[in-house]
């Protein structure tokens, strides 16, 4: 035990001495949370639009004003002719154009109908869709207001409630994902690199020929990263609660226990990688390609899994981060208890045991 503690201390020195790395390891999660929380919203606002008004009557001006007043739009251009429309789209100045045909008001008075055209820049399909929906709603509102409270028969009203995330904030989705990403990065990648570094530099040889039990050396390597992860989890949770206003709905104890479980999973993965890799670059590559990319792509926090083709959906099941993401989402955002997360927890625990068994076995064979 005494010997073990010595090694733990040695590892802490290693970590502590490289201030730059330590700073990044602690600063990165904070940056990520802030970026994700504040900058990455799928919400549409202040979109630049153009108006092509061929009619220029009272009505089109009123609609233009209402569009201007809406917080979704910002009218940046009044286009005089149809030819200029494409040029404006091509230069990327506008995302939506509202085209009024000639004589809107007159047509409406005589024939009871007129058509307004909305043209969206579908380079980004979702934004285009959303903008067209919003602009239609503004025009529709204008019409309803104009029509007044005419007695409309047979109305079906829709009452909508947004559960869990009433303000539709992106951070509710991102916070659990960033936690998974950071833990993967800190635990798996950094551990594997630091073990392989000793191999590369030759100090591992020295340790292995000494009378110290090798497994202990390795376990001592894991301790600082485990603690670092706990610090990271703490700072992420504090930031998300106090700065981003993402509340922890469920039990904090359960959440922290689950985080520790996932930290262990990642550490075991790092150990596994270090037993395969021979150089730092290889360890980096394997952890980037084999761990980090799948975590970002297939855990479901950035990209919806249900939209993926079948092979990817199947593969996503062996990505530990996917299960962790489900657990954190359920406990933290939805406020559910153990009875809803026991399944992913068991899967995660099983994976951890599996990785542990494999890496210990690998480790022993290498010693012989």
């Amino acid at each position: 035990m005494h010997q073990f503690l010595f090694f733990v201390r040695k590892e802490f020195y290693h970590l502590w001495r490289d201030r730059q790395t330590l700073l990044i390891l602690i600063g990165m999660p904070l940056m990520q949370i802030l970026i994700f929380g504040f900058a990455l919203t799928n919400e549409v606002k202040n979109s630049r639009i153009a108006i092509l008004d061929n009619s220029k009557d009272e009505m089109t001006q009123a609609i233009t004003q209402q569009l201007e007043a809406s917080r979704y739009f910002e009218i940046v251009e009044l286009i005089p002719s149809g030819e200029q429309l494409e040029a404006s789209f091509r230069s990327g100045k506008i995302k939506l154009a509202v085209v009024f045909p000639p004589k809107v008001q007159e047509d409406l008075a005589h024939t009871n109908t007129s058509a307004i055209q909305l043209i969206g820049d579908a380079t980004d399909p979702n934004t285009s869709n959303t903008l067209i929906n919003y602009a239609s709603a503004v025009i529709q509102d204008y019409q309803n207001g104009r029509r007044g409270e005419l007695d409309i028969p047979l109305v079906i009203q829709t009452e909508m409630r947004m559960l869990y995330n009433p303000q539709l904030k992106g951070s509710y989705n991102f916070v659990p994902g960033v936690m998974a990403m950071v833990l993967m990065l800190v635990c798996a990648m950094m551990t594997s690199i630091s073990i392989v570094k000793e191999k590369e530099l030759g100090t591992m040889e020295v340790i292995l020929v000494s009378p110290i039990i090798p497994l202990r050396v390795i376990l001592a390597k894991l301790v600082p990263y485990f603690l670092l992860s706990i610090v990271n989890i703490g700072s992420i949770l504090l930031l998300s609660v106090f700065v981003l206003d993402v509340p922890i709905q469920g039990s904090l104890v359960l959440l922290i226990l689950e985080c520790m479980l996932f930290t262990t999973t990642s550490l075991m993965l790092g150990l596994l990688i270090s037993s395969i890799a021979t150089s730092q670059q290889v360890a980096m590559l394997v952890s980037l390609m084999g761990l980090f990319l799948p975590t970002v792509l297939l855990s479901g926090f950035m990209f919806p899994i249900e939209n993926m083709p079948l092979p990817l959906r199947v593969i996503s099941n062996i990505v530990p981060a996917k299960w962790f993401y489900i657990i954190v989402k359920n406990v933290m955002i939805k406020g559910l208890g153990m009875e809803h997360v026991w399944k992913p927890t068991l899967i995660l625990a099983g994976m951890t045991l599996f990785f542990m068994a494999v890496s210990i076995k690998k480790f022993k064979t290498r010693l012989e």
Partner: protein, 372 residues
Amino acid sequence: MRALRILLEKEFRQIFRNPAILRIMFMVPTIQLLIMPLAADYEVKNVNICVVDYDRSPASSRLIHKITATDYFTLVDFTDSYDQALTRLEDDEADLVLQIAPGFEKNLVRENKATVFLAINAINGVKANMGGAYLRSVIGDFNQDIRMEWRTTSPPVQQPVVSITSANWFNPLMNYRFFMVPGILVILVTMVGAFLSALNIVKEKEVGTLEQINVTPIRKHQFILGKLIPFWILGLIVLTIGLTIARLVYGIVPTGSLMTIYVFAAVFLIAVLGMGLLVSTFANTQQQAMLLSFFLMMIFILLGGLFTSIDSMPTWAQVFAAINPVSHFIEVMRMVVLKGSNLYDIRHHFFSVLAFGAVSNGLAVWNYRKRS
């Protein structure tokens, strides 16, 4: 000139001798381009719906039928209890719950008014928003239908109606991949430029060969050019591979000219190479270089508008995006590939990136010292 040529020869030999680097060079772009667009599909489809029908009237079942007839919604459960439906929502089996209260049809006939209730899982805000809006429009259509049918006795009041038509330009089929693939191409080029160049220089530092170069009469600018030119060429090669894959696999043929893309990419690469060089002057070990460039790349890419629109970001992020070369290149790629923009259309982006390149390279050269 001769010294530079020899340095370049050395760099290329090193690159081609190291299978790991070559593997990153060719595998990563291919794999990313093959997998990422498949995974990064934000198109909202397959919304799972759970219906709680307390009314069980002809009208309610007709509404449900109308909803399930669209290929947008999948009915996962049809129950009598709201609690059971909520469990479905909690377990992520359903995205939204539609509750039709008892007396729906009766209220509609007698009081001319009825309410349906929608509960939406809003953790994924986009999906919640779009799913809710779409369901509302289906309900609105249904409303219109029954209004026409049930009110045959009294003639409908003639109301002036402005109809709204919409068109989706540049991507009429609303293919999400057309949006993602050009953006991912930018990421690949950035990776080669910023990541690999930084790692390459720091490796020489770590291994100690940089010392050896430093004691030779090679000039500072020669050494830097010798490091930058190979990665500049590799970046353009990766771009070519990417464009080829985009064409063969996704059928994306740039509407604009390839020349525009390459001219911009050439300048863009100078800018990110400067960034990689700057990182390498700060880092002493490969681990540090990797972390540092990873950290920077993440910020540049995430704030570059690959996934979310820059317009809806807060002001500070928009200011950053105006400096960020990655956001300019992503924008330019989409403009040229989908809209066919020409060099004149993208001139602002061009000059911003040029300025960034001048500053980053200047800083890197200034910060690079021959003595350690």
